[in-house]
Amino acid sequence: MSDWGINVIFQGQNFLRLLEGLGVSMRIAVVSVLISSVCGIFLGLLMTSRYVAVRSLCRSYLEAVRIVPLLVWLFVFYFELTKVLHLQLPAEFVADIVFSIWGTAEMGDLVRGAVTSLPAHQRESGLAVGLTRWQVYRYVILPQAVRRLLPSAINLVTRMIKTTSLVVLIGVVEVLKIGQQIIEVSILKVPTASFWVYAIIFFLYFIICWPISLWAKHLEKRWQ
């Protein structure tokens, strides 16, 4: 049956192994999305602070993270963190850290955008009717900001999932690496293996990200 290249996917444990590899990427994505959501909301609120110093400090953090490609940060953290801490850190753990730092910055910017896009009179009216600052946030700003935030935050999640594909380049054994292993094992018997394996990985990423994108689009329309 070796004339059908696609069979290579379903031989033995191959498909299961690919899914396992995908699981590694998804675990990194989930962990960093969770950390980024919490820290990002905090950062975003800090970015709306009254104090210029706080605002510009947060701003510098955001710009510093953004100005260089994420792959560069992965390399810098992978090699330098180990050196600075004198610790052998697993690549997966480094990926968690870098994606959380990046996700926090991006999420923070989205939160800031959502909060500041609300007209000022919302906050002022809240204060005028005697709500405390905390109550204004809790009952006036947050419910509205969340609706503006959620679609773009969900889009950020798909971006983070897509970007986790980079971790293979610092040596994490995830779906792409396992795909390469499968190709190497079967290259003599099935010359077209790499076509099918990369096609299936392409498709796997699509099948994960597409529904999430659709959901974001749906929310955007509903809350417009």
Partner: protein, 219 residues
């Protein structure tokens, strides 16, 4: 830090930066072209092409560039369609960037009020004149911030092409680390090189955005 090592490596980085810029330039140009084609298809609602475009946009936006490149470069080679790594990289960037540019241009065109188009038609402009003098100037100005963000995004995305053996900045850094174990120096130069490429561009785009604010008329 070994300063003589840094000095000796700088020419390597300059050469690599040339390739990074070259890839980004053609990638951006082709993405703009793909985006413009998509925007036109969407604007005139051309029946079958509209469907194809939607499929393309969903595929392009929901898969990572790295996988697209691997598929293009290693996958297609095995079924007899071989591309040079350079062609693959530009093709991949255009495939990825096209959908982002399409979105930016679509938003720009949609921002031009219907009333302006109707007014233009009613004073006897042709569809071409309408596009040339009324829709495009405003649509482009509105789309500039998004296009600028995409340009920066694509320039940063080129860092992935080292995975298909193109000697860009990332590749040189990896090479130096692999050969000499000078990780700190190699990475410092890498960050520096990207800063030199990206910082002026991002400042220029910020200036451009400020200049183009309030360009929309009559909405």
């Amino acid at each position: 830090m070994d300063q003589s090592f840094i000095a000796a490596s700088i020419p390597l980085y300059i050469k690599a930066a040339g390739l990074t810029l070259n890839l980004a330039f053609w990638g951006v140009l082709l993405s703009l072209f793909v985006g413009a084609v998509c925007a036109v298809i969407g604007y005139f609602r051309i029946p079958v092409l509209c469907r194809i475009m939607q499929v393309y946009i969903e595929l392009s936006r929901n898969t990572p560039l790295l996988i697209q490149l691997f598929f293009l470069y290693y996958g297609f080679a095995k079924i007899g369609i071989k591309f040079e790594a350079y062609t693959c990289a530009i093709g991949g960037l255009a495939f990825l960037g096209g959908s982002y540019m399409a979105e930016a241009l679509r938003a720009g065109i949609e921002s031009v009020g219907k009333i302006q188009i109707e007014s233009g038609l009613s004073i006897g402009l042709t569809r071409w004149q309408l596009m040339r003098y009324i829709v495009l100037p405003q649509a482009l100005a509105v789309a500039v911030p998004a296009i600028a963000a995409n340009v920066i995004f694509l320039l940063k995305e080129t860092s992935v092409v080292s995975a298909i053996a193109l000697a860009d900045l990332m590749f040189v850094a990896k090479d130096l680390i692999g050969m000499y174990y000078r990780t700190s120096e190699a990475l410092l130069l890498l960050v520096g090189a990207y800063l030199i490429l990206l910082l002026p561009l991002s400042l220029f785009f910020r200036y451009l955005e400020r200049r183009l604010r309030n360009v929309g008329l009559g909405n």
